[in-house]
């Protein structure tokens, strides 16, 4: 890291107010990483603009000086997407946190990118509406981050991921040009789905400064089931049976024995039997009248697959209790090891039992603690590897085990990330799923949006295809 030119810092201060330019090394510490804390790079500076106009002016200034911009929301990302680059300045959206409009009749919201996911749902609630994608980090992550990562969540099985809900974007592009993409109620001739392409671009195409998103009516009722199984395989069979029944649950989530133990050993203990092989959460939502029948059928599937116990929640308190083990899993695991690598990969749902067995085998072979918490309905796995980054040998085994897990998921027809993105962490795995021709096409598309390569360089695409790369400081920290 090199301290930025004082002239540039002064100009930035003139644009956003001197209080909103951070250069003090102590205050920069929190910006050194996102949720993937094994990578750390200190940014040259952090700027916190308050409006589209300020973002545009900041980007114009920085790009004019050839300084890369790293967009940042809440920094909960798990692939190092918001990791600073040594030469870059972080532009954070924390102050751009206004919900601009809830258009009740058209079920649309217009908001700034720094709005926290759960706050949007909170704001829409008085109108009987909510925002569907619900990442487990929803009480802290921002909509801008969700758009950049195309985030999912437990309820995306029925409702789909972020992409489905974003109808329009205002974006500050390279050099500070402000553009609008899409917009509900418009479908002009010859338009391409640029909004869909922009969602999931991980801050590499431009900085989103306004989002138009769809809202849905709040479901009238919810039923939540918790099934306890002796083995993971049995839980996997229950999932397949539920889907084959023609049921469409809102969420189907599984936690494994290692996770149950971690949760039960923590302050979040919920009374799960610690010898259970797996716990399955199945949730139905919609019109009250049909819910019990759906829950009955799913319960029968669980019993047929060998569940030792099935609990059912009909009110909010009971529901929260059943979800507890799933929702608190990450927190509970944080307690038992200094570091936690939250992996993310997707496989076809029917391959889950086989893949989970092989992940267990990989963990054992590398002598690592692997705990699985995942969106079973989507086939979206989160094998969590517990480790201590000060143990160089263990760190190396984490690396090698991760790579094997990724290869395994790709081998059965899956992919290297279902919702956390590629960021810095998975660039090395991109060649497992894409050949050189495809990677070059992606690089060319990045070029269409960001010809000077000054938005979040060094992310998503493997080394040879990117501009600036994150060098040793980050890797050495692993």
């Amino acid at each position: 890291m090199s301290a930025p030119d004082p002239r540039v810092v002064k100009r930035l201060g003139e644009i956003v107010g001197p209080d909103h330019v951070v250069t003090d090394p102590n205050r920069l510490l929190v910006y050194e990483s996102d949720g993937l804390t094994s990578y750390r790079v200190s940014p040259r500076a952090v700027v916190l603009p308050g409006s589209t106009e300020e973002v545009a002016a900041v980007v114009r200034l920085l790009h004019g000086e050839g300084i890369p911009v790293v967009p940042r929301g809440a920094g909960t990302g798990l692939s190092g997407g918001a990791l600073p680059t040594p030469e870059g300045v972080v532009v954070g959206t924390a102050r751009m946190n206004k919900i601009l409009e809830i258009d009740v009749e058209n079920r649309l919201a217009r908001l700034q990118p720094g709005v926290i996911n759960a706050r949007l749902t909170e704001a829409a609630k008085p109108y009987g509406l909510y925002y569907a994608p619900d990442p487990s980090s929803q009480s802290t992550c921002t909509l801008g981050g969700n758009v950049a990562e195309n985030s999912g969540g437990p309820h995306c099985l029925k409702y789909g991921v972020t992409q489905r809900y974003v109808t329009g974007l205002t974006v500050v592009m390279g050099g500070g040009r402000v553009i609008r993409l899409g917009g509900a109620g418009r479908s002009p001739d010859g338009a391409l789905d640029l909004v869909g392409l922009f969602v999931g671009s991980e801050g590499c195409f431009g900085l989103v400064t306004e989002i138009e998103a769809r809202l849905l009516p709040v479901a009238e009722g919810v039923r939540t089931l918790l099934g306890i199984f002796d083995t993971m395989e049995a839980a996997g069979h229950a999932v397949t049976a539920i889907i084959s029944e023609g049921l469409l649950p809102a969420a189907v989530e599984i936690v494994d024995n290692a996770t149950i133990r971690a949760v039960e050993a923590s302050v979040y203990a919920g009374g799960f039997p610690v010898d259970a092989g797996a716990a399955l959460v199945v949730e139905f939502d919609g019109t009250e009248a049909g819910l019990d029948a759906d829950a009955d059928r799913a319960e029968a599937c669980c019993h047929a697959a060998g569940a030792s116990e099935v609990k059912r929640a009909t009110d909010a308190t009971q529901r929260a209790a059943l979800w507890n083990g799933r929702k608190k899993a990450f927190g509970a695991m944080g307690r038992i090891a200094p570091d936690l690598l939250v992996q993310d990969a997707t496989v076809p749902r029917t391959r889950l039992p086989e893949v989970l067995a092989r992940i267990t085998e990989i963990g054992e072979r590398f002598e690592l603690n692997v705990a699985n918490v995942f969106h079973a309905g989507d086939g979206n796995l989160h094998p969590n590897i517990l480790f201590d980054r000060n143990d160089a040998d263990e760190l190396d085994r984490v690396e090698r085990a991760s790579k094997e897990i990724m290869s395994l998921c790709v081998e059965v027809g899956g992919t290297i990330t279902g919702e956390h993105g590629v960021g810095i962490d998975k660039r090395g795995y991109m060649r497992l799923v894409h050949n050189e021709v495809e990677l070059k096409a992606m690089a060319a598309v990045k070029d269409v949006f960001d010809p000077d390569g000054l938005f979040n360089p060094g992310k998503v695409l493997p080394d040879a295809l990117t501009g600036e790369t994150i060098r040793d400081p980050a890797m050495a920290a692993r």
Binding site: V104, E105, N106, Y159, V161, Q163, R164, M173, L181, A184, G185, R186, S187, P188, D189, A191, L192, D193, L194, G196, L197, V199, C204, P217, E220, T240, S244, G246, L247, L248, G286, T287, E288, A289, G290, D294, T346, V347, P348, R349, T350, D378, G379, N380, G413, G414, T415, G418, E419, V422, V433, V437, E438, A441, M442, V445, D447, V448, V460, L461
Partner: protein, 408 residues
């Protein structure tokens, strides 16, 4: 000459004629050759050849509903009818991978055996090919209950204008491994590449498919009920405003479909009736009536698509009736888009309507051009930044511009 040159890169079967009539027959007559590849590799060879030789390529699916367009310069037709059949169908995964020339009717037949289906209902859906469906990107009104086609296309193999093969997305429902190049391909109308294989998300067939109908003397008489249904605390599968073309029929109807288990559908009907303050008719043949409405006037001389915020839809429909007279209207009242069909339309009326719709914040486009004045170029355009990005994106996929309709 072209045919001879192509014979050097493709097997004889790919150059044998056999594609059917209609608008396609006219094109065949004008084309230098009709190529019917059987594999992604053959598509790639064809496109490489076309790029090298500066020959335009017009990809067609079923070819049954091709709008009339004037194609200029040397071109070949690339038909996908031999690229048909399933690749992977695992019912418990609720995903299906099939070649792009496979007809929707045969897909839904195979899925139906496992009580699954693809929830898309644009006009003429049964005879469409998967590739055509994805290239057009039209979901139809059941997108209200199921989500749009664009979010259900999980993966595709796409051959670019210069013959590169891109395997985009995958066959899992969540996938963020790199920039999502598949999104702009969906709905690009053949402008970015030839799609040869597609993976789609399938859905369970609902136990009950109930159609509710409310009739009024004219379209305006449906507005209050449509608004009540659209803003009620339940999500129907679709909400369609329909008014047929020919006077004196003149009557208009709101068609609401409810999908789900019997108790759910009963309760949803009660909720909607309470919200709207009306009692709906509920005819026995829901699927049949829905199909009639869906495909009505599909071959009209002029087809237009109007998009608006749902709250402005009826103003747009009134403007359309005012300016174009006796037209067929089939509108998706939940998302605010409308399909309009007419005989000939004169240019001044069309431009007037477009301006009126744009003043309401929406867009009007020409989806089927007549022999007269309703030309695609009269439709609403993306903003200048969107146009610029789309053009540059098209260059990434098709550097030499072989794909129609980009070709000058």
């Amino acid at each position: 000459m072209t045919k001879g040159a192509l014979a050097a890169v493709l097997p004889a079967e790919a150059l044998a004629s056999g594609v059917a009539g209609g608008a396609l027959a006219e094109l065949e007559a004008a084309a230098e050759a009709v190529v019917r590849p059987e594999s992604t590799d053959e598509v790639a060879d064809t496109l490489q050849w076309a790029t090298t030789n500066s020959v335009g390529v017009l990809p067609v699916g079923s070819g049954e509903r091709l709008p009339k367009r004037s194609v200029q310069g040397r071109f070949i037709v690339l038909a996908t009818d031999r690229l048909a059949g399933f690749e992977i169908y695992e019912p418990a995964d609720l995903t299906l991978t099939a070649k792009a020339g496979t007809r929707l009717s045969s897909v839904n037949e195979a899925l139906g055996a496992h009580r699954q289906w693809l929830p898309f209902d644009p006009p003429g859906v049964a005879s469409r090919t998967l590739g055509g469906l994805v290239a057009m990107g039209e979901s139809g009104p059941v997108a209200t209950g199921y989500g749009e086609l664009r979010s259900h296309v999980l993966g595709a193999t796409v051959v670019t204008g210069d013959g590169r093969v891109l395997r985009l997305g995958g066959r899992v429902v969540k996938n963020v491994a790199g920039f999502d190049l598949l999104r702009p391909v969906v709905g690009s109308r053949g402008r970015l590449g030839v799609i040869t294989s597609i993976c789609l998300r399938a859905f369970p067939v609902p136990a009950v498919d109930r159609l509710l109908i409310f009739r009024a003397a004219d379209v305006a008489g449906l507005e209050d009920v449509a608004r009540a249904v659209r803003t009620a605390p339940t999500m129907p599968a679709s909400v369609v405003v329909w008014a047929p073309t020919k006077k004196p029929a003149g009557e208009a109807a709101l068609l609401v479909r409810l999908h789900g288990a019997l108790p759910t559908v009963d309760a949803d009907q009660a909720t909607l009736q309470r919200s709207a303050g009306v009692v709906f008719e509920s005819p026995a043949d829901a699927a049949g009536i829905s199909a009639t409405v869906r495909d009505h006037a599909i071959d009209a001389a002029v087809g237009l698509r109007m998009s608006l915020l749902p709250s402005r839809l009826f103003e747009g429909l009134a403007a359309a009736r005012d300016r174009l007279g006796d037209i067929m209207i089939a509108a998706d009242a939940y998302n605010g888009s409308a399909r309009l069909a007419a005989g000939e339309v004169d240019e001044a009326a069309l431009v007037g309507l477009r301006d009126a719709v744009e003043a309401l914040g929406g867009t009007l486009t020409v989806t089927r051009a007549g022999d007269g004045h309703a030309q695609p170029s009269l439709g609403s355009r993306p903003n200048s930044a969107e146009r610029e990005l789309a053009e540059r994106l098209a260059k990434v996929f098709d550097p030499e511009g072989v794909f129609w309709p980009c070709r000058a």
